[in-house]
Amino acid sequence: MRFAAAGRVLILCLLLGVLASPTVAEDAALRERVNALFEADDQRRRELLREMAASGDERVPAVFAALARGALYLDRRSDDVVVAERSGARYEVRDVLTGNELPGAGRRDVRRLRVDNRLREELASLTALRGLVSEDVGERRSAVRTIAAAPSTLALETLRGHLARETDASVRDEIELTLAIGALSGNGSAVSDALATLEGRSEARVRAALTTFLERNDLDSAQREAAQASLRKAQSRLRWLARLEALFFGLSLGSVLLLCAIGLSITFGVMGVINMAHGELIMLGAYASWGAQQLLPGQPGLALLLSIPAAFLFCGFVGLLLERGVIRHLYGRPLETLLATFGISLILQQAVRSLVSPLNRSVVTPSWLSGAWEIAPGLALTYNRIAILLFSLITFALLLALLRFTRLGLELRAVAQNRAMARALGVRSGRVDAMTFALGSGVAGLAGVALSQLTNVGPNLGQAYIIDSFLVVVFGGVGNLWGTLVAAFSLGVANKLLEPAAGAVLAKILLLVGLILFLQRRPQGLFPRSGRQDTL
């Protein structure tokens, strides 16, 4: 292993020039190139970048990174290119090579170096050449992928050289694929070899390359047929994967619906309170995760985890206040409850608008929740959706356990079934009501944390989900947690299966019409409560 590593370093040296500590001459040369970037046109700029990459200077990757994120500026006072970060109306300026702090600049003193997508791709590709010799398999794989996205002749040559030394099978596979795609634009036996390698592969870039390949008019029939067969195979495979994908999308939508509706299922289903402010409790939960990220800057992941209990407690407390302050005076008067909670929802929205901001707040997605898990080429599930699916199921299981195995759960069920009898047996129904409402509100807070990873955190967040939540609860059967689960997932999947064919707008309408018809036949929903019911 050590020899392999040493070999890699050696090759890096040969590849990128001999590494040495920066001398004065090198310093001047690098600085000159960086400074020339500002004036250069696209063509010249590309050359400069290549020269810089080839020089093998250790400071080049940092310069590239700064350029890629648009942090390189021309300082008009010294005519040097510098690294600058804006803070408020001023810019903090640093030397591009040494990182030494320079006098701060105003808006007028700096001009940003133009950077666009093409340049960014070029930079990534040049940086990736270094990643190829990394010890870490993941880094090597992503380096190959970056090169594959914008392959230059130089990069392909380097890949070919690297292939023989690559030990990891999956990285080898990626490289072979990239080389085969590159070879498609060539001639003769290289093309046939490439076609053989690409046979049956369903990666997007393979299909793209084959489609472009088929547009060439100098192909012989064998090559053409091979490419077409390969494409057909990939497409039929993809059709299946697309169905699986739609199923996952449905489950994911269902999990969001479940999270939103499950708190309502307790307050509305078990207690019979029509809580129009449920959406705003979700919104407050989302703001709790924003608040946690503000308190713990730089650690979005930890803040998000901590915001799960924080949002639960905070929203539970708000719920408790609502129940004790308003709702308990309105038991048995559903219409007035509806109006009062609707009013509360408006008050909460406006409070957030006035106290926080009418604008959306940005909640950062931690790196371990961004990206996708690629199960097979053409089928990738995004991490945030998977996490929310699991989170909703865990929440559901915990809630179910709480209702079944704890004293509060027992009392809650007793009060829901027969309030008078429960009171006669010594259950303090007022306290149970308060705790139940707080529990439902706390679960709404959990939904808010999950939603902060999917959508805008703003004062209107709750509005978008309240109707769907009621829909799920009514469809599933009022007062039945399992019903809510089944309803949420079946609505989610049905929506996602309809969407590709009918479009997002029509799919929703169709679903609503279907639901209304269903409720006409079965007003009690999917799983009606059995046995005697007292109205609360």
Partner: protein
Amino acid sequence: MEQGVQRWVLAGTDYVYPRTTNKILQAYLTQKGVAEDDMLVNYTPFGHSDWQSIVAEIKRFGSSGRKTAVVSTVNGDANVPFYKELANQGISAGDIPVIAFSVGEEELSGIDTAPLVGHLAAWNYFMSVEEDSNFDFIDEWLAFIGDDERVTNDPMEAHYIGFNMWAAAVEAAGSTTPDAVRDAIIGVSVPNLSGGTATMLPNHHITKPVLIGEILDDGQFQVVWETPEAVAGDAWSDYLPGSKDLEADWRAPRRCGNYSRSEERCLAGGE
């Protein structure tokens, strides 16, 4: 087109502005030789938050081997989940760029911009325009609002121009009565904030430069393309059969917002 884009996704919120824009765009693209199969039009309800299937569809549409771009007229809150889903499904601005018509600096200030870097927006002004008149405006605005983190955006520039034009017209007319100002305002030129001037045309539209910017990590735009000079605003599209024939001219004596050239009369709204 210049970037070699051959397939187009026109994604919009389901209401009049995106539907009209997309109608014009479709007519334009068809005229430029883009086949029906190479356009995917998609509408979503306001505040749409579950973009999984649509993004997956865009991904499939874009994996045909030809460069694909999305023209987004998605409005307001639906944008954030849209961009997040794009990033999570691994679509970068390099693969399938999204050009938006209604995402500006103010909208970006409430968003985690990391997944958006490199996507595009078309406006007539960006805060990042490096002109002295713009720097003056920004400094005045920041001093007025007392918050250095606030941003300026295109609608603000539109008001800056609009108010200055009105003031110039009032001075020219010597009165603030609407009719007098209306007659005086046509032909008035005032400086805009991107180093040029805006002129009021007879159709009550003004001349503006068109800028296309790429989103940067700090919520600002990098101008990557601009029209060489200010573009004259058109009241009626030249690409739609219904409006090709119409023109607006508010000068006396015609004074008509939808004058039909073939019928040689004002259809409605004239005096």
